[in-house]
Amino acid sequence: MITLRDLADRLGLAIDGSSSQELRARCAPEAFLGAATALAAEAVLADLFATTGSGQPWLTAVFEAAGDPEWLLLRTQLTGDSFPSLTPATHVASWYEREIHEMHGVQPVGHPALARLRLHDWPVGQPPMRATLDRRLDIGPGVPSLVPIVHGQGVFQLPLGPVRSGPQESGEFLFNSGGEDLVAVSQLLGFKLRVVERLAEGRTVDQALMLAERLAGVSTFSNALAFVQAVERASAITVGERSRAARTLMNELERLHNHFGDISRLADATGLMVAGAQYASLKEDVLRRCAELTQHRYLRGILAVGGLQAPLPDAALESLRQRLPEWLRRSARLERLLEETAIFIDRVETTGVLTPEYAAPHNLVGPIGRSTGADRDCRRDHPYAWYDQVTFEVLVKSQGDALARLSIRLFEIRQSIRIIEQVLEAWPVSDVAAPSDSPATGEALGWTEGAGGETLHWVELTGDGRLARWRARPPAFVNWHPYAEACASGNNLTDYPVIEASFGLSHAEFDR
C-alpha cells in the first residue's frame, strides 16, 4: 500500500497546505500533465475540474488511493486558455475535459474526441460558466448528434426520448439494432442543464445550500451534506457529536429509500409487479419516517453549516427505531422470493454487463463500481460524520451485470439498517459545536457516499461567507460514462428497461 503523501514525495510535489484528510499541492502548468498522469497511474483520479473567474483559469485534479484516508488536490494556474490533455494516458479524464472545454472554454489540447457533452444549441464561444451571458445571442453551430449510427442491411435506428414513457427524467437514446440485438447505443444528455454551480456564485452559503439540496431530488442529502462539509472544512468549523450522528442516520435513510426505489423499478421492468409494489411501499414508508424526522420527505431544509437547522424529535426517532425490524423482515422475505424466482433471475443475470476490465479505467463509484470489482466506499475509506463510530461491511462483486448491481443494493439495505440501529443505540446526548474563530474564507473538499456512490463537492469561499466557486461532482457524472457500452454488450432491445433500472442513474445529477 502506498499513501498519497509518499507518491507526492516521490514525484517531488511540495505539499503546500493540508487540513485533516486533505493534502494540497501546487505545480507549474508545464508540470501538471506529468504529475497528474503519474498520480493517476498509481492512485485514483476522482475528479478533474477547472475554475474560472478573474485572472487565469485554475485546473484541479483530485486523487485518492486505496487504504489512504486522505485526498490529494493537485492544482495549477494556467497561463492561457489551454492545457495538454490527460486523456490519451488517462481514459477517465475524457469526460472531465470535455466538460471543462464546453463549460469553461478551456481547451484540452490533444483530446481525441472533443465533442460537446451537454450543450445542444448553445452559441459557440460562450462557455456558460464564464461568459457574460446574453440571452439574445444567436444559436451557433455544433448541435450534438447521436453517434454512432450503424449502417448495414437490416440495421435500423430506434430513438427513445427525450420525453419518456412514464414519469421519468428527460434524456435521449438511440438504439442501433439488427432486429433483436442491440448493436450500439448512443445517448444525448444535458436536456435538464440548469448550470447550478454558476447560479450559486456570489450567493451566501445558506442560499447556495438550497441549490445543493436541489441538485438532485433523491440524492438531496448526500449532495447537501458533501457541500456543507466542504464549507465547514473551508472555515474550520467543528460539528457537534449529535449532529454528526444525525447526519449519518439521515445519510443511511436516503440510501434506503434510493435502494428500495431502484429495486422497485427493476422489478417493474422485469414484469414482477408484486415485487415492484412491495418495494415501492417500503420506499414510501422510509420517506414518511424522513418526514416525521425533518418535516420533509427528501430531507431538505434540515442541514445547516455547523450542525442541523433543528434537532431531530425524540418521538420520530422512537418511531424509526420501531420500524427497523419490520423493514429488515420485509426486505429479507422479498430478497428470498426474488432469489427463488427463476424468471426474474434469468432477466437480470448476464444482462447489461460491465466487465471489470472495461470498467476499471472509468474509476466507477457506488454500487455500480462495486459490482465491477472497484473496492471503494467513502464511508469506510474516508470516514466522515459519524462513520468512524459504527461498524458495517462493504460488498464487492466482479460480475458487473444487473444481478450483481441488485445483490449489492440488497446487501447495502441490510447494512444501512444495521448502521441506523447502531446510531440510535449510541445516540449521543452532547452536541457542542465549536464555532470557527478563523474567518470563513478558503477552499476545501467535502465528500459523502450517497446511494449512487462517491459524491464530491469543492468550494471556495470569499471572506464574507459567500460562494466564490463551487464544483459538484455527483456520482452519476462518473457512472454515465460507460453506460452506453453496458447497454450494447450482447443485449437485446427488450433488455434495455432492465439495464436502465439496474443502473438507476440520475439525469439531474449529470445535467446539473
Binding site: 427525450p162 420525453v163 436541489r214 438532485a216 414482477l272 420506499k283 420517506l287 431538505r300 437547522q309
Partner: protein, 278 residues
C-alpha cells in the same frame, strides 16, 4: 409466481382513503406554507424577507407606503420563516393545496394601511374548462414531461402508482403517448434545452387539454428563478390550468391537483389562509 400473488394478497390493503377520508399517516409532510402577514410588524417583515432563500417573501415599495408579499408558488418550504415567526407563518395541515389561479398562491399586506390582500377571488371555470371537466371527470390520461426538475417530483409521481396511493382507483392513468393524453403534467423549471420537446408534446395532444404545473420550479422557478438556462416558469410558455405547489409536491397534493383539474376536487388553499383556507 403463485408465491408472489400470495404475498400480495397477504399484505392486505395499504391504500390511503384520500380523498374520501383524511390520511394522517400520509400527511406527515407539510404541503404548503400559509402566511398571516398582518401579524408581522414592519421590522419583522424586513427580517422575514431577508430570511427567505427564494423570492417567496418579498418587500415592495418604500418604508411608508411599502408592503410585504408572500408567494406560495415560489416557496420551497425550507421552514426558516415558520421557525422564526410562528405567529405569522405556518405549515398547512391539509394536502389540498392545488389551485386554479396563480393569484390564489399570493397574498400581500401593507403595513401603512392595514392588510390589503392580493386578488384572491375564486376563478370561475370558463365554458371550455367546464366542458373538459365534464369530459375527463371519470377518466384522465396524463402525459408527464420533465422539463428540468431535480427528480424529486418524478420520484413522487412514480410513488402515485405504489399501493399507498394507487392513482388508478381514481380513474387517473399515465400514458406514454401525447396523442392519447388529456392532461400535460409538467415538472421542472423548463430549461432552455427542454423547451422545444415540451412544446412539441403539447402540440401533439388533442384538444381540449389540461396543463398542470407541479412543483415550485414549474410554477415560479423556485431557487433557479432567473437562471440563464431557465426559460420558465411554465405559464410563460403554455397556458396553465392547475398549480400544485411544493418542493416537491407531496403525493397527496399531486392527487388533489389532478382531481381539481377534472372538477372533482375543491380549491381550498389560499396563501393568506381564510374562510375556506386549508
Amino acid at each position: 409466481m403463485s408465491r408472489w400473488i400470495a404475498l400480495g394478497l397477504r399484505s392486505g390493503v395499504r391504500t390511503t382513503g384520500y380523498p374520501s377520508r383524511p390520511d394522517p399517516d400520509a400527511e406527515v409532510a407539510p404541503s404548503a406554507v400559509i402566511a398571516d402577514l398582518a401579524a408581522l410588524t414592519a421590522a419583522q417583515a424586513v427580517e422575514a424577507a431577508g430570511l427567505c432563500p427564494t423570492t417567496a417573501i418579498t418587500l415592495e415599495g418604500d418604508r411608508d407606503q411599502g408592503g410585504i408579499k408572500f408567494d406560495a408558488g415560489q416557496c420551497v418550504m425550507c421552514g426558516r420563516c415558520v421557525r422564526a415567526f410562528p405567529g405569522a407563518f405556518s405549515f398547512s395541515q391539509s394536502p389540498d393545496v392545488a389551485v386554479r389561479s396563480r393569484e390564489r398562491l399570493q397574498v400581500g399586506a401593507h403595513w401603512a394601511g392595514g392588510s390589503a390582500p392580493a386578488a384572491d377571488a375564486a376563478v370561475l371555470a370558463t365554458e371550455l374548462e367546464q366542458r373538459s371537466q365534464r369530459l375527463f371527470r371519470r377518466s384522465l390520461h396524463i402525459r408527464h414531461v420533465d422539463a428540468g426538475s431535480c427528480n424529486g417530483c418524478e420520484s413522487e409521481l412514480q410513488l402515485l402508482g405504489s399501493p399507498e396511493y394507487d392513482l388508478h382507483r381514481l380513474g387517473l392513468f399515465f400514458t406514454p403517448t401525447p396523442r392519447h393524453a388529456d392532461a400535460l403534467l409538467v415538472t421542472g423549471v423548463v430549461t432552455r434545452q427542454m423547451e422545444q420537446p415540451l412544446r412539441d408534446t403539447y402540440d401533439a395532444m388533442p384538444d381540449p387539454k389540461i396543463v398542470v404545473a407541479a412543483g415550485v420550479c414549474a410554477i415560479g422557478g423556485g431557487v433557479f428563478e432567473g437562471g440563464f438556462m431557465v426559460n420558465g416558469p411554465l405559464d410563460r410558455i403554455l397556458p396553465v390550468d392547475v398549480y400544485v405547489p411544493g418542493c416537491p409536491p407531496t403525493p397527496l397534493a399531486l392527487l388533489h391537483g389532478l382531481l381539481v383539474a377534472v372538477g372533482r376536487g375543491a380549491e381550498r388553499y389560499r396563501a393568506g389562509g381564510g374562510p375556506d383556507g386549508a
